[in-house]
Amino acid sequence: MAIAPLLRKMFMVDLMKGLNVTFRYQDPKEVYTEQYPLERPVIAERYRGLPRLNVNPDTGETLCIACNLCATACPEHLIAVGSQRNPVTKRKEMTTFTYDVSRCMFCGLCAEACSTDCLELSQDFEIAQYSRDDLVFDRERLERGSEPTVYTR
């Protein structure tokens, strides 16, 4: 038997190597934890989070043209667009918009289908609610968009 492996085994070099790694990592600089409510995570620009209906920032009118593409594209069929033809402009106008976030899997197909960039998945990821009903978003809630959680003591 070769002497070097025997010695290595006797002095537990293999175990020491592991101990060394864990010891080194005690440096507080290595800590990877994000203290979440205190430190906000960086959310990517393309993040697919809470849905939002965009409004025209100048006029406050919705951008939705009630084309129903999002509802058609949705694999879970969780979008329902109610529309009405405006007798004056002869255009379809969105009246109601329901989005059931509880069933949403955030695939982004609806936002891709939207022809006016109205429906969009925003960067808001804090969508926990106390009941399932609260997760069925209506038009008003969707237009309000992201509501960052405020933590109070």
Binding site: L15, F23, V31, Y32, T33, P37
Partner: protein, 451 residues
């Protein structure tokens, strides 16, 4: 009555030896409280150290840096619903955790935190300690059996097999150390004049190391070291800690013998386990690491005298410095508190925590100042060094836990029986041979002359 109480102040032996029941009781309470305190601190330290080794932060919210986490957990466990399985063997199920805790704490009767700082000193102290600490397995087997469930049963069976096999290796290593107490003479290879009989008294063992001017871990180098390593491995196995945590192997047996336990009962198991860790660590410290002695206890340096502060003509400057270490450590802790308080996140929600940390720092500093006072300082020395050594051991436990995978049952047995046991026997034999070498030499000479 008062005389009875105060008479002990003049005594230099343990209350048990002084036959002073009152102080024995006080000591018991102090030891119980102290060990519980250590367990709590260990609980916090384990989480923090483990977390940092695993690039995490660990508890951060309950108190500054999670310092109050053990208390919060204890509260949680006390108030949790106490579940007893319907099919459990109820008396035994109830008794098992109590047994584990009682046994774990009983051993501390003979642990010498200082020359006079033990509840009592038995002439068979070591034997008592080993015997009591190995009784803990009984509680585990009871728990596993009484749960009437497969996972606990397997855990407890593993536990009993494991403890029995590691007891033997442990015993051999211990006997080697006990033999060393009999070989007088000083220094690493100081081979004594004559074969004084050794001692099993815990205080006696430390005193032997004091007299021989060597920690037994270095005696007959490397025999003592090997014996110590055997004990160090066996004691990890004995306390069911990683990498020998098979009885509670989380990933295989869910939680092993305490799968069915919850709330207070479960916390008793934890308390027992951690207390047992402290107990076996103190055996190791007593036997090999010089007990309450500070490192390099035989070096005193030139003698020095500072009025009102240092009036020990028999002790030197090195002693003085070492006497300042306890206070220094507390000042260091206080400094860490202040430093971390400054580094805490600047957030209104963190304000109470920052204040708490400052307060803790102040308390630490205050204790440090108290420890500087000569009467306190002189009396706290032994305890401080002993506890410091325990802390090192506990850190090792945490460190192992962070690093090592778990042995498999058969491999564990193999390590116990095929590695530790033969090595232990060899060490025992070597200790005897080296220790008796003068006699052997004379004997051989005699034999040859007689021819």
């Amino acid at each position: 009555m008062l005389d009875y109480i105060t008479s002990y102040f003049r005594s230099t032996v343990t209350p048990g030896q002084a036959n002073n029941q009152f102080w024995a009781l006080v000591y018991i309470l102090i030891v119980f409280g102290g060990v519980s305190m250590i367990v709590m601190i260990m609980n916090w330290a384990e989480r923090k150290a483990l977390a940092h080794m695993q690039v995490r932060l660990g508890p951060m919210r309950v108190g500054p840096h999670g310092l109050l986490q053990p208390i919060a957990d204890a509260l949680k466990l006390f108030t949790k619903e106490d579940i007893m399985p319907a099919e459990a063997d109820k008396p035994i199920f109830w008794f098992a955790p109590v047994w584990v805790v009682v046994v774990a704490f009983t051993g501390f009767i003979v642990v010498p935190f200082g020359v006079a700082h033990a509840v009592t000193d038995m002439n068979i102290g070591l034997l008592f300690m080993l015997g009591v600490s190995s009784l803990g397995v009984l509680g585990i087997v009871m728990a596993g059996w009484a749960s009437n469930s497969h996972f606990p049963l397997m855990g407890s069976l593993r536990s009993s097999a494991q403890m029995v096999s590691y007891e033997i290796a442990m015993g051999l290593a211990v006997v080697s150390a006990v033999l060393m107490t009999g070989f007088l003479g000083t220094g690493m290879y100081g081979i004594g004049e004559g074969t004084a009989s050794g001692t099993l008294s815990m205080i006696g063992i430390v005193q032997a190391q004091q007299a021989q001017h060597v920690w037994f871990v270095f005696k007959f180098f490397p025999v003592g070291l090997v014996a110590f390593v055997i004990f160090a491995i066996a004691m990890v196995a004995e306390t069911n800690r990683t990498p020998f945590d098979l009885p509670e192997a989380e990933s295989e047996l869910v939680a092993g013998f305490h799968t069915e336990y919850s709330g207070l009962r479960w916390s008793l198991f934890m308390l027992g386990e951690y207390a047992a860790m402290v107990a076996v660590s103190s055996i190791a410290i007593t036997l090999w690491l010089g007990g309450w002695m500070r490192p390099f206890a035989s070096i005193h340096g030139p003698s020095i005298a500072i009025p009102f502060f240092w009036e020990h003509p028999e002790l030197g400057v090195v002693d003085m410095i070492s006497y300042l270490v306890p206070a220094g450590v507390l000042f260091l802790l206080a400094f860490f508190c202040f430093f971390n308080a400054l580094r805490m996140p600047k957030h209104p929600a963190m304000r109470p925590q920052v204040i708490g940390l400052w307060a803790l720092g102040v308390v630490m500093g205050g204790i440090g100042l108290v420890l500087l006072a000569p009467p306190v300082r002189d009396r706290i020395q032994d305890i401080f060094w002993f506890v410091a050594k325990i802390a090192v051991f506990l850190y090792l436990y945490i460190w192992y836990r962070a690093t090592f995978p778990r042995y498999r049952f058969d491999q564990l047995m193999r390590v116990g029986w095929k590695v530790l046991l033969p090595v232990g026997l060899g060490v025992l034999l070597l200790t005897g041979l080296i220790g008796l070498s003068p006699e052997l030499v004379t004997w051989i000479k005699g034999v040859m002359l007689w021819r």
